[in-house]
């Protein structure tokens, strides 16, 4: 009898011979014997019929089925066998094809060449992907956790580029090509009222150089009346030969479109992660098994990175053990302790809310002060600081609060995993709400007039074109954000690295090398993206600026990472981190659409600038265009769609749909649990039955066993027959070649129809 000595070594302890002959264990054989073993294998692979996707092709159960050409075959490359065997399989399939009718043959060869073409095309496209080489390098040095940050950055670059192209092609392009394409641009006429006075902000006379810099950094002066801001698009319509292009409508629709496009794209990207999170239990997927078997990142090629990965795995395992201990501790907590913990948590949460309120209030006051100070220009430096005061305050707040939160969380006595998540949520909330507070304070200024209700719906004396002003604030936030990121890298991280490397004093060693903290970096770029989403309506060129900004940030971060940083000792799992990034981005999108909707639908638009001069609110352009449609039926339909009846029914239907899906998910979870229990039971049944069988064997005299389910024709029966089966009961080398044991396997496979091995 042949021996697959590689895979079968001396067993430790008494093992059941029958257990090793089961199909599920046989399926692990990687190397089969040559010749006749091979031919039998081929037939089994053909009849496997793409079952359960587990790659288990072995087992006499499969051979029991009639040999027939299956409609679906697993592609050869997915079979777990040696290359020589796969090539033989492939030859065989090609021969098979030759026996088929010529039409089928042609179809198969067409299918094959199409597949190959698609593979070539995909390869060529993937070489065009932005930053492929750089990301490959980062993956090799730091693993998949940090890689996910950089691919997230790449996604944002693409997103911003697409938004900019949308804005450009529907809003700017018609204006630019109008004179060349014979179009006639009709501008919004000033109707002489006091609301439509727009003093020009261009500087006159001799302009000192640093005033240009101020203008560039604050978006005022020469930049104000350019394509950059909303106020420049004072176009009513563009009449091309043949049709009229309604620019206000286009402007509004593009705004809605880019928000919807972002939503769809992000949801589509997060679909896989979300599905996985729904299906899996919370505890399970951070489990020990995941860390042991899927913990080592095989992409790592760098010695330092390998050392870091090892230490991070060590840290993770220790944390997990710690977490088990804490869970035990929590379960053992007495009532008095629990009360104490809850009161501490309450006090600390109130403290956190107080800190947040203080930050928001300071942002509010800074904004108001800055707006007032912009009216009087004193000197260059002070003006600049006053212009950037809100940004400075926001950045300071966003720098201090995470440190505060990470200190506070230590006293709240949560489990480590929850601590990380909770601190992160607080930081996310802080970052994204600060923009909202800024906007709110701006709006309170804009809609507040000195004497009672405003004449034009907004404060036309201070803000003759308030949208441009909001756009300028967003522009300033973006510019400042970029400056801060670049400055922190250059003036903090590089010196830190130099000092840690060359100055061996205790303080430096304690401070340590810069860690690349993924969550904080992700929050930074989501913050920038939220500003971009809010600001695009008021500053149509902002997406382009953000694209360029993220482009440079990629290189800055990459250089900083490679030269200065070591990966965080607190590991950030790639799988959950992709999902985390996209969830935070979605929160940012939701928080961004709120101000946009309020600005579009609520606040009166300026009468002095912009495309919506003839309307009270920007949203009004839509109903007015619909009412001007020639087709009455269409008009009625569109008005009906916008009515409350449709909105309420849509809401109700969405709720019902959501409940259904949640119930479905719950039902699936329950089914999975039941199946899991069934699997366990089947395993126990199997062992029990085998033990009983062995007992029965020992008691009865040696006799050829009669297969209970009636013998079925076996393709491999030729080699051994009954004599072999008799001898194999007592033979010592019972766990060797498949071909000698197939009859026993067949015997066993007949008994339980739904063995656990076939799930």
């Amino acid at each position: 009898m042949d021996n697959d000595s590689v895979f079968y070594s001396a067993r430790t302890g008494p093992t059941n011979p029958l257990l090793d002959q089961l199909p599920s264990y046989q399926s692990l054989l990687y190397r089969r014997k040559p010749a006749n073993g091979g031919s039998k294998r081929r037939s089994s692979s053909r009849t496997r019929m793409g079952s359960s996707g587990s790659g288990r092709w072995g087992g006499a159960t499969v051979a029991l089925r009639e040999e027939k050409t299956p409609p679906l075959q697993r592609p050869v490359r997915e079979l777990p066998r040696t290359m020589a065997e796969k090539r033989r399989d492939r030859e065989q399939r090609l021969e098979q094809d030759r026996e088929l009718s010529s039409w089928r043959q042609r179809r198969r060869s067409l299918h094959r060449s199409l597949k190959r073409l698609r593979a070539d095309l995909q390869e060529r496209l993937s070489s065009l992907v932005l930053w492929r080489g750089d990301i490959h390098l980062i993956e090799g040095m730091f693993g998949t956790g940090i890689l996910s940050y950089f691919s997230f950055l790449r996604f944002l670059v693409l997103l911003n580029l697409v938004i900019f192209l949308l804005m450009f092609s529907f809003v700017m392009l018609p204006i630019i090509i109008a004179p060349h394409a014979g179009g006639n641009v009709t501008f919004n006429q000033a109707d002489g009222s006091v609301c439509s006075v727009y003093p020009t902000s261009a500087r006159r006379g001799l302009v000192i150089f640093h005033e240009h810099i101020t203008d560039l950094l604050s978006g005022g002066g020469f930049l104000e009346q350019t394509y950059l801001f909303y106020g420049y698009y004072k176009v009513h319509a563009i009449s091309f030969p043949g049709f009229t292009y309604n620019l206000p409508l286009a402007y509004l629709l593009v705004t809605v479109a880019y928000l919807c496009l972002s939503l769809v794209w992000i949801v589509q990207r997060s679909a896989t992660g979300f599905k996985r999170n729904l299906i899996q239990d919370e505890d399970r997927f951070q489990s020990f098994c995941n860390k042991i078997f899927a913990g080592w990142d095989c992409c790592i090629t760098n010695e330092d990175a390998a050392r870091l990965k090892r230490s991070s795995l060590l840290y993770e395992l220790k944390t997990d053990l710690e977490e088990e201990r804490i869970k035990q501790k929590i379960a053992d907590r007495s009532r008095k302790e629990r009360c104490r913990i809850y009161t501490i948590r309450l006090i600390l949460n109130v403290f956190v809310i107080a800190v947040l309120a203080a930050c928001f209030y300071s942002i509010y006051r800074a904004t108001i002060f800055s707006q007032k100070a912009q009216m009087e220009k004193v000197n260059f430096m002070r003006d600049l600081i006053y212009e950037y005061l809100p940004s400075i305050v926001i950045t300071l707040a966003n720098f201090i609060t995470p440190l505060l939160f990470s200190v506070i969380i230590n006293f709240e006595d949560y489990s480590p995993a929850f601590e990380i998540r909770f601190t992160l949520m607080r930081c996310v909330f802080m970052r994204l709400t600060s923009i909202g507070v800024l906007l709110f304070s701006l709006w309170s200024q804009i809609t507040q007039c000195k004497e009672g209700p405003c004449l034009c719906g907004y404060n036309h004396q201070l803000y003759s074109c308030w949208e441009t002003r909001v756009g300028q604030e967003m522009y300033k936030l973006t510019v400042f954000d970029f400056i801060i990121i670049a400055a922190v890298t250059i003036f903090v991280e590089f010196p830190r690295k130099l000092m840690v490397n060359y100055c061996g004093c205790g303080l430096m060693r304690w401070w340590g090398q810069q860690e690349f903290a993924i969550p904080q970096n992700v929050l930074e770029i989501v913050y920038g993206q939220t500003i971009c989403w809010i600001g695009t309506f008021y500053c149509p060129l902002l997406p382009a600026i953000c694209t360029i900004k993220y482009f440079f940030i990629f290189y800055i971060k990459k250089v900083s990472l490679v030269n200065n940083c070591r990966p965080a000792t607190r590991p950030f799992r790639a799988s959950s981190s992709n999902f985390f990034f996209l969830v935070v981005l979605l929160i940012g999108l939701a928080l961004a659409s709120l101000p946009v909707m309020v600005g579009v639908g609520q606040i009166n638009c300026s009468q002095a600038c912009g495309p919506f001069v003839n309307y009270t609110v920007s949203w009004e352009v839509l109903p007015r265009t619909v009412s001007l449609l020639p087709n009455k039926a269409l008009r009625d339909l569109l008005f009906a769609l916008a009515s409350e009846a449709v909105a309420v029914s849509l809401f109700v239907i969405t709720c019902v749909g959501m409940f259904y899906v949640i119930a479905l998910a719950g039902a699936h979870k329950r089914v999975i649990n039941q199946l899991r229990e069934q699997l366990v039971m089947e395993g126990r049944d199997k062992r029990f039955l085998i033990q009983k069988l062995c007992q029965a064997q020992r008691m009865t005299p040696a006799r050829p066993p009669v297969p209970p389910g009636g013998p079925q024709p076996l393709a491999r029966a030729g080699r051994d027959g009954s004599a072999g089966s008799r001898s194999s009961w007592g033979s010592p080398s019972y766990h060797t070649s498949f071909s000698t044991n197939h009859s026993d396997a067949m015997f066993l496979a007949n008994a339980p129809p739904h063995g656990s091995t076939h799930v």
Partner: protein
């Protein structure tokens, strides 16, 4: 199309393309890598299917495998004699299974083989202990190692025999979200 290469015949390249997850260019590149491991041993002309095997020591010295704690087991699992002597077919097979496009089931089968140190078709406690020690370079205390292995077996063992069969392993690995992204070597 492209430059004429004389390393493989067209049929061979087609066969490789069908049997692995690589394109023609990648297969040629892999041959280049295989060749540079031992330029005097590996012929440049593979049209006659020469029988050339490289020893384990040369293959685990590759930068892609050098830092992997399981490099020996990986190469052994993909060799015909089980000792790590790989022909070019085995070499390509190994990287094909470890590439991005290999399906989860295929990777699970080979991962099981790799982690099964004593090659008994079960992941028993000793296998797990060895895996853990290689992962952490023995920096966990003995007690912690025992605890972690016990917990791992507890989590994944479904049939109650205190070791992981392939069914248990596969069931567990389908729910391990990182498996596909970590069990992947880029070449």
């Amino acid at each position: 199309m492209g430059n004429k290469q004389t390393i493989f015949t067209d049929e061979q390249l087609d066969a490789y393309q069908d049997c692995t997850f690589f394109t023609r260019k990648e297969i040629l590149r892999l041959h280049g890598r295989y060749h540079e491991l031992a330029p005097h041993l590996v012929p440049m002309d593979y049209t006659k299917e020469p029988d050339c095997k490289l020893p384990l020591a040369l293959i685990v010295a590759m930068p892609e495998l050098n830092e992997n704690p399981f490099r020996n087991r990986i190469v052994e699992s993909f060799s015909e004699d089980g000792l790590g002597n790989q022909s070019f077919n085995d070499f390509v097979d190994m990287f094909s299974v470890l590439s991005e496009m290999a399906p989860r089931e295929l990777k699970a089968i080979f991962a099981f083989k790799i982690y099964d140190f004593n090659v008994d078709n079960f992941l028993c406690k000793e296998d797990l202990e060895q895996t853990l020690n290689r992962l952490t370079k023995e920096e966990l205390t003995e007690e912690e190692v025992q605890l972690v292995c016990e917990k791992a077996i507890e989590e994944a063992d479904l049939d109650g025999d205190h070791k992981l069969s392939f069914a248990d392993f596969e069931n567990m690995i389908t729910r391990a979200p990182d498996f596909l992204s970590t069990f992947h070597i880029r070449i």
